[in-house]
């Protein structure tokens, strides 16, 4: 089960990078053709360069990009804080390399893991989670995140988060310049530029739902259930994680640092007032997760 998961994560990551490259290169080709005569070649060149850069950034420093986007601070390994101790215990239990540990200054109780493989992984926990949970419950959540590291879920999720984040950024940039470009055209009637931006706007309008679909794939329900199950194996205590989920279900504190790019990486859905059974939900309903963990606790 876990080996299948690892293989499918690697396959999905490759497919994702391939599709992104194809889309960016072809978009740049059309832009080049529309801008100058025979500019398509130049467009392909620029597009390949752009997507290579994007891939390298998300693969080698995707976790630092995401961590700094939420303002995470690294925990000093010598501070012997409870969080660091708990992560260390789980790394002994799972046999994984000790990940870098971060605290996010956010009052909402949540956590996420990022990185490209178990030897280059980071685990971030919100301040709100540390305040809400006791030691056993924290251990359950940390074990869940360690399972994502073990199953290589973090590779795909990190690449999606960084690349999707970039696309959203570029799209919003073009939406704004389209707006300004349109107003300029009305003034001096120079033409040309508006057409290109219209084309770009259309391309990103097509891209947006694809990006949404990819984010959704990043956190399938099955992999959340699998991470919960692996966490129970690591801690030998399904009740800890179940109690943590029960506590999380009962509180509603608005996240202050989370953004759409990081959302699918989190332990629970960071957006409030969000119907968990809706089509775009990235996480399975908490109640189902508790039920499964309790089932494990009883059949032992």
């Amino acid at each position: 089960m876990i080996y299948e998961q690892i293989a499918s994560n690697k396959r999905n990551s490759f497919l994702l990078v391939f599709v992104f490259t194809l889309v960016i290169v072809s978009a740049c080709y059309f832009i080049g053709e529309a801008w100058i005569k025979n500019g398509g070649i130049l467009g392909i060149f620029i597009g390949s360069f752009l997507s290579l850069g994007l891939f390298l950034i998300s693969y080698y420093s995707g976790d630092s990009v995401l961590l700094s986007s939420v303002g995470a601070k690294q925990v000093d390994p010598n501070s012997s804080s409870q969080l660091y101790n708990v992560v260390k215990e789980m790394s002994i239990s799972s046999g994984l390399t000790m990940p870098k540990v971060y605290i996010v200054p956010d009052p909402s109780p949540n956590a996420f893991a990022a990185g490209r493989d178990p030897d280059h992984a980071s685990l971030a926990v919100n301040e709100g989670l540390l305040q809400l949970l006791n030691r056993e419950e924290l251990q359950g959540v940390v074990a869940h995140e360690m399972s994502h590291i073990q199953n290589r879920d973090i590779l795909y999720a990190t690449i999606v988060a960084v690349m999707a984040g970039m696309i959203v950024l570029i799209a919003s940039f073009f939406r704004q310049s389209w707006f300004f470009g349109g107003s300029r055209r009305r003034n001096n009637d120079s033409g040309g530029g508006g057409g290109i931006l219209l084309l770009l706007g259309l391309i990103f309008a097509v891209l947006a739902p694809i990006v949404a679909k990819l984010i959704q794939l990043a956190i399938s329900r099955q992999r959340e259930y699998l991470a919960d199950a692996s966490a129970a194996m690591m801690t030998r205590d399904p009740a800890g994680l179940a109690n943590a989920l029960r506590k999380l279900q009962s509180v509603s504190i608005q996240a202050t640092t989370s953004n759409d790019a990081v959302a699918p990486l989190y332990f629970t859905e960071p957006r409030l007032h969000f119907n968990p059974s809706s089509l775009f939900a990235t996480h399975p309903p908490i109640k189902d997760r508790i039920d499964r963990l309790e089932h494990m606790a009883y059949i032992k």
């Binding site: 012997s80 708990v86 260390k88 046999g95 194996m233 089932h295 606790a297």
Partner: protein, 184 residues
């Protein structure tokens, strides 16, 4: 004909070499894991006197609890082999846990920063011992299996490899691994 015999001998020798190397790899892993456990055990021996010192003033009427910890610590430090250490360390774990339970009755203690820090240190050390014990016993099982099953047992005897001791645990105290059912 001769080529066939020489070829067969070469194959057997190559197989024996690869088996020998796999024994060595497992044996080194066992020794490394045991060394890791010992680091944590020693850490616990060092922490316990500090905890007793910190709570002694508050727990005047709990002499027995504190004494039982001191005795369990002394007994555990006497143990030499993994098989002896296991039960002795379990007694110590139980005794330290009793202090934590009694501590619940002393609100002053639960507000003491130093005591809380020691409690966290002891808890994490205990958890590390428990999780590394699992890992250690798993490798010992693999090593023992590979030197006791035929035909590799023949070479194990020849090279003088002996079965290793488990770091034994009192079964009643160990949390069983939960059975994971992913079908629902």
């Amino acid at each position: 004909m001769w080529f066939g015999i020489i070829g067969a001998i070469v194959l057997v020798v190559l197989w024996a070499i690869s088996k020998y190397n796999s024994f060595i790899v497992l044996r080194n892993r066992i020794e490394n894991a045991w060394a890791q456990i010992n680091v944590e055990l020693k850490r616990r021996y060092d922490l316990i006197p500090n905890l007793i010192e910190a709570v002694k003033g508050y727990m005047k009427y709990e002499k027995e609890v504190l004494e039982s910890v001191t005795n369990a610590r002394a007994a555990a430090m006497q143990a030499k082999t993994p098989a002896e250490s296991g039960p002795a360390e379990d007694k110590l774990t139980q005794a330290v846990h009793n202090i934590f339970v009694v501590m619940e009755n002393y609100p002053d203690l639960k507000a003491n920063e130093n005591v809380l820090r020691l409690q966290e240190e002891l808890t994490t050390t205990e958890n590390k011992i428990a999780f590394s014990r699992q890992f250690y016993n798993d490798i010992v099982m693999r090593f023992n299996q590979s030197i006791q099953t035929f035909p590799s047992s023949f070479f194990a005897n020849l090279f003088g490899f002996k079965a290793r001791e488990y770091f034994e645990v009192d079964q009643a105290q160990v949390k069983d691994a939960p059975k994971v059912d992913l079908t629902i």
